[in-house]
């Protein structure tokens, strides 16, 4: 399977080649190389997604296959992994494919977008692409961290791209400091686990922790604390409350093509990190604590969904609005994951695909508005979007899609989430999903009505709003900008009609969560255990129609009654998101402390 390493090596080689030839090649070459690499990676990952259905594909770097070492005192029946493996499964491969596709969209949208010379932007984009693929496909705990860092480093620099303004530096700093704190927690957790198991391969770690279970039936403080540190570290990237503060600052200042990568795939990768480490390493060891862990994660998910929706509702800056809606939807994705069942994971996987397409499209819409109207603040731009009929139409559809209106793929994810909740008799939690979808969709639709139609009164405070630096010269909307904008929204519909997608997602989730089978296959090199496959629940269009209807109602009401937009009652929440990085880190430490404390010491 020579294409497995190429998903990482090709973009890295492309980045290095561009940097070698950077000063003598025109910028178009940089764009072309980046586009080619992203398209190739997308193709490779889609192929791997199909090829790995039913049994993981394992690739041992350096040819270091696991071997038998008689006197190591390890679990005797298992082989010892001494090299680094990629373990490709459909969920990881699909996420990598989504990331590659969004990189394609970002390059296309940026084609006529940046007027600066130099290829560093494309070099960083390719490093981000390689990191995304590596992070999704790796089966090694430390390798996971390496690609996490590569992804972070490229993202920090891309976030601060607009060096002429003060804002980007501040936003990128907040992003870098909080996420580096998260990375420190992850590394500490990995060190603890390595000290306990003497292994870094995830299957090996899982097997070793499971073997320890025979000696000590409940997981000790070490295992619990290590999981808490790793999960919270990834939760910083996933923007789970109270680790979410950096996200809106970073999105508000990053160039639009970078926003779609951040919202469409990077925060989801944080969630993937939690899921991957849980199911591959900790699932057996934490079985006695599963109920408690589920409650903790569900609590964080509900808080994230609601606070994100509320904050999105309070924004008039389009990019900040969309950023907070990403936080809210991350809450919904975490809710599926938090159930710790295959159905929940499948629902989240579907939701990630739909959300990635829709949110990417909405951000590109904000980018076109910035391109044409030289600003993204709805209060200032009130009614000035009237000439942009088509941009507005796609934006409105995006708002409805965000609210979960069928036939957009977000509706499929939402349906499956409700089935997964019902399975555990938690159906009432679907109301949280309804509120989050309706409020975030309503906030987008409200902006649409005010910006593109001029409904409602202009905001009195509009005059003092700071003017945003335009990213390009004004003029017609180039086709390379509009094509990915509309294309991503169409993808959001196409995913619904993709034959067998819900079934595929459920089977992939079953494969992902059957950790025993995974270990057997990896360390004993035997075929996977056959398992009965479930069927996904039926589509229930009324849910999506209800939440889209609610979103429309909220939008209309808040356009009519401006006090609903929360200029007054929303102040305490604005103050909470202060932009002060010291505040963010304090909340972060409190979050990790409370999570670890509850996991360790809450009496049963």
């Amino acid at each position: 399977m020579w294409i497995i390493p190429l998903t990482v090596v090709l973009p890295l080689l492309g980045a290095a080649a561009l940097a070698v030839a950077g000063s003598i090649t025109p910028r178009r070459w940089g764009d072309a190389v980046a586009l080619l690499m992203a398209a190739l990676c997308c193709g490779f990952c889609l192929y791997l997604c199909r090829a790995s259905a039913g049994h993981e594909l394992t690739y041992w770097f350096g040819g270091w296959r696991p071997r038998h070492f008689p006197t190591t005192g390890l679990v005797p029946t298992h082989l010892q992994a001494i090299g680094i493996a990629f373990d490709v499964d459909p969920i990881g491969a699909a996420l990598a494919a989504l990331g590659s596709l969004l990189v394609c969209a970002a390059v296309l949208f940026g084609w006529s977008y940046f007027d600066s010379v130099g290829v560093q932007f494309q070099v960083l984009l390719l490093a981000f692409l390689a990191a995304t693929c590596g992070f999704c496909l790796t089966g090694d705990l430390f390798n996971l961290f390496v690609f996490f860092e590569l992804m972070s480093v490229s993202a920090f620099a891309l976030c601060g791209y607009k060096v002429e303004e003060k804002g980007p530096l501040q936003g990128a700093m907040n992003f870098a400091v909080t996420n580096t704190a998260g990375a420190v927690f992850i590394l500490t957790g990995i060190a603890l686990i390595y000290a306990r198991t003497g292994a870094l391969n995830m299957a090996q770690v899982g097997a070793q922790l499971r073997a320890n279970l025979a000696v000590q039936p409940r997981p000790g403080a070490l295992v619990l604390a290590a999981f808490a540190l790793i999960a919270c570290g990834f939760a910083v990237k996933a923007a789970v409350v109270p680790f979410h503060f950096w996200l809106a600052d970073a999105h508000a200042v990053a160039p639009t093509p970078i926003c779609i990568l951040f919202s469409g795939v990077m925060v989801e990768l944080g969630l993937y990190g939690i899921v991957r480490v849980y199911w591959s390493c900790f699932a057996d060891a934490l079985t006695p604590e599963r109920q408690r862990l589920r409650s903790l994660l569900l609590g964080a998910a509900v808080l994230t969904a609601l606070l994100g929706a509320l904050m999105a509702w309070l924004q008039s800056h389009l990019k900040r609005l969309l950023a907070f809606s990403t936080i809210s939807h991350m809450g919904l994705m975490l809710m599926g994951v938090a159930l710790l069942t295959p159905r929940g994971l499948a629902a989240t996987a579907l939701y990630v695909l739909g959300h990635g397409a829709v949110k990417g499209s909405l951000f590109l819409g904000a980018g076109i508005v910035l391109h044409r109207l030289r600003g993204v603040d709805v209060a200032r731009l009130h009614g000035r979007g009237r000439p942009l009929v088509w941009t507005g139409a796609v934006f409105a559809l995006g708002g409805l899609a965000l609210a979960g209106l069928p036939p957009f793929a977000t509706a499929t994810g939402d349906d499956q989430l409700s089935h997964a909740l019902n399975q555990l008799h938690l159906g009432g939690l679907w109301l949280v999903s309804l509120i989050a979808a309706a409020v975030t969709g309503g906030a987008v639709l409200r902006s649409y009505l005010r910006l593109f139609w001029g409904f409602g009164k202009p905001s009195p405070a509009a005059a003092h709003q700071e003017k945003e630096e335009p990213e390009t010269k004004p003029g017609r909307i180039p086709a390379v900008m509009f094509a990915p904008y509309a294309g991503l929204l169409l993808l959001g519909i196409a995913l619904t009609f993709w034959p067998g997608l819900p079934e595929g997602a459920l089977h992939a989730a079953q494969q992902f969560t059957s950790s025993a089978s995974y270990r057997t296959q990896l360390l004993r090199q035997s075929p996977p255990l056959p398992q009965p496959l479930s069927t996904p629940g039926p589509q229930e269009p009324w849910r999506g129609v209800l939440s889209a209807g609610l979103a429309l109602a909220l939008a209309t009401l808040s356009v009519r009654f401006s006090s609903l937009r929360g200029r007054d009652w929303g102040r305490p929440f604005h103050r909470l998101h202060s932009g002060h990085v010291g505040d963010y880190v304090s909340w972060l430490v409190l979050g990790v402390g409370v999570f670890a404390g509850l996991l360790l010491w809450l009496p049963h």
Binding site: L12, G63, L150, A199, A225
Partner: protein, 250 residues
């Protein structure tokens, strides 16, 4: 939040986190015991299998070489990011001022300092190359040697001037060296792939234990990493100094 509230939130979190961390540490194996099985195995088989006498290098560039490829590119990406963020903005001009370039803040360096600089530049380059090329035998290798070699150019600035440093290490050349080093690692990895083995598989002859030409692909990777790291550090220095000395607002 004001400073006091922030401190309170942080202290509460730190207390809980610290408690959990201490509870975790208390369950570690006692000092000196409970060595990792992974480390034991590698210590046992490394020299015999790979003809590499520095086990750390063998882990970094052979057994877990793919991690190190990622780490090398983290450094490459960080330098590229710094170059991107420190680039000349639309409202800035590159306007070198002659006195800043040839002397440091108006002070002339003495001939003795210049002579010492020339001597030690050569020594540093030689020592850096030695550390880079002997990674498979003794502690060291591309990362460490690359940092040492890069300080040679810093010394040129200290004992000479910014202008001399730019002449000795022109920016396009340094950029190309850094990127070539990064690409080199990945290209060495492709050797295995083209021979029908795995990516980064050490398929070159291992040589005899203790010889400078032992370890198969490992010395090649060391050289690539050395090039990347020294290029990266020099590029960082050049970029920062350019920002300070040459780039001005309109």
């Amino acid at each position: 939040m004001n400073a006091r509230a922030r401190l309170l939130v942080f202290a509460l979190g730190a207390l809980l986190l610290g408690g959990a961390y201490m509870a975790a540490l208390s369950q570690l194996a006692p000092l000196g015991r409970g060595a990792s099985a992974y480390a034991d195995i590698l210590n046992r088989v490394c020299v015999r299998e790979r003809h590499i006498t520095d086990v750390v290098t063998a882990v970094n560039f052979d057994y877990r070489g793919f991690d190190t490829l990622g780490e090398e590119f983290i450094m490459f990406t960080a330098v590229m990011g710094a170059v991107l963020l420190l680039r000349r903005g639309k409202d800035e001009v590159q306007a070198p001022q002659e006195d800043e370039l040839t002397s440091r803040r108006g002070r002339r360096r003495s001939d003795a300092v210049a002579l010492a600089g020339v001597v030690f530049t050569a020594v540093l380059l030689l020592f850096g190359s030695y550390v880079i090329t002997h990674g498979q035998l003794t502690p060291g290798g591309g990362f460490q040697g690359g940092v040492i070699a890069s300080t040679a150019l810093w010394l040129v600035y200290l004992s000479g001037s910014y202008k001399v440093m730019r002449q000795v290490g022109p920016k396009p050349l340094v950029e190309a060296a850094e990127a070539l080093g990064a690409a080199g690692y990945a290209l060495v990895g492709l050797i295995g792939l083209f021979q029908g083995a795995a990516f980064l598989q050490n398929t070159l002859p291992p040589g005899s234990i203790g010889s400078p030409f032992s370890g198969g692909t490992v010395p090649l990777i060391d050289i690539a990493v050395g090039l990347e790291v020294s290029g990266g550090f020099v590029l960082l220095l050049l970029t920062f100094m350019e920002e300070v000395l040459e780039i001005r607002l309109h």
